[in-house]
Symmetry: C2
Subunit: 221 residues, 2 copies
């Protein structure tokens, strides 16, 4: 662990922590950030373990923002997020990593990271991101942001294999209705509802209402 502080804390002084195993990257980030006026201190760690140990000792010294790598010796950065959030609930976590798999991105965001930067990013862009986060915002590298918007987009959701009427019935079930209520809503016989549902089960290869509701929600039908 290495801590360098500029003791001329201004209004917006930021205490920064960097958890990164690559010494070259770590040192270049340190050298860059320590010269910035609104960065009050920079503390670097080579692993999650080193970070948590230091936090136990110097709990008073709370970083505002943490730059976190994913690939680390020992615990991964993603597994480290809940631990950081636990000991520092008010700190913001910026992922800084070479990984751009959707899996890792969503895992990190779900765990509580607020930004996700490619390691390709320039130092000045990383700095911009830190400032953005300090101001309550969030920044994603363009390619990362694209994966996130694609997640929301319906384009990647395959077209439903169900017919119009089958979809009507599924909507009823998702709304918590019984067969009888679905029949009433669609103004058809309960036996018709049964027939449709049997056909739906065959089409989707499932065998109970629960799985159907799950399928419908997860596929946004």
């Amino acid at each position: 662990m290495r801590r360098i502080s500029m003791y001329l804390c201004t209004m917006n002084s930021i205490h920064l922590a960097i958890i990164e195993d690559d010494k070259i990257v770590r040192d270049s980030l340190l050298a860059y950030f320590i010269l910035k006026e609104d960065i009050a201190s920079v503390t670097t760690f080579h692993s999650m373990e080193a970070f948590t140990e230091d936090m136990k000792e110097h709990i008073a010294h709370k970083p505002h923002i943490i730059l976190l790598d994913i690939q680390l010796p020992g615990m991964t950065g993603i597994d480290g997020i809940p631990i950081i959030k636990n000991i520092l609930p008010d700190s913001e976590i910026i992922m800084l990593t070479t990984f751009e798999d959707s899996d890792k991105i969503f895992s990190a965001l779900c765990a509580g990271a607020c930004s996700y930067l490619s390691k390709q990013s320039s130092l000045s862009l990383i700095y911009e991101c830190v400032i953005t986060v300090k101001n309550g915002g969030s920044y994603m590298s363009p390619s990362i942001a694209r994966k996130i918007t694609r997640f929301f987009s319906k384009e990647n959701s395959v077209s439903s294999p169900l017919t119009k009427r089958q979809t009507d019935i599924v909507h009823g079930l998702v709304d918590g209705l019984s067969y009888k209520m679905v029949a009433a809503r669609l103004d058809i016989s309960i036996d018709t509802v049964r027939t449709h549902i049997m056909q739906i089960y065959r089409t989707l290869n499932i065998n109970c209402k629960g799985e159907l509701i799950r399928w419908a929600i997860e596929n946004r039908v």
Copy 2:
């Protein structure tokens, strides 16, 4: 509708469309973008209707990127997204609006917008966004991006009101198991499963398995 073209198309020449009802904003965007070298043409519209009408006539002239306002006379920008995507499946849509409600953001992204900019953004930032999108990326204003990451974060999901065992049972049901199968998985009596489920229903104020599964999925329990 007003179309201005620079007929010195370079490799990365971008055809831009702007759908924006405020004439001042529209014209300032037009004036700004038309001077940019890599913007081959800029076409402006005051409404979705004007846009679709023009597309019917000049279907050959396909914009690559569309800057889209939400508040428009007639059809809203959000309702317009699927229409644009329908006639121009390969165009990218950048929302440019004053609205920062989570609802509108997620509606737009779900409908297929790839970026979402605050109207507060500077012209140069909007330009940066256009270039980013042209390069296959995506950009969000910091405050927008923050709302999106907050959506993923578990922090805003309230702590489960269910006990450990109740959660085990819910997981079983979400996995599509029957009471009997849940009992087998947890190695308890089916009557115990029943008792737990009744208690869960009381706690969550629901009254059937379907609603429980939906609750579990939507609350990521």
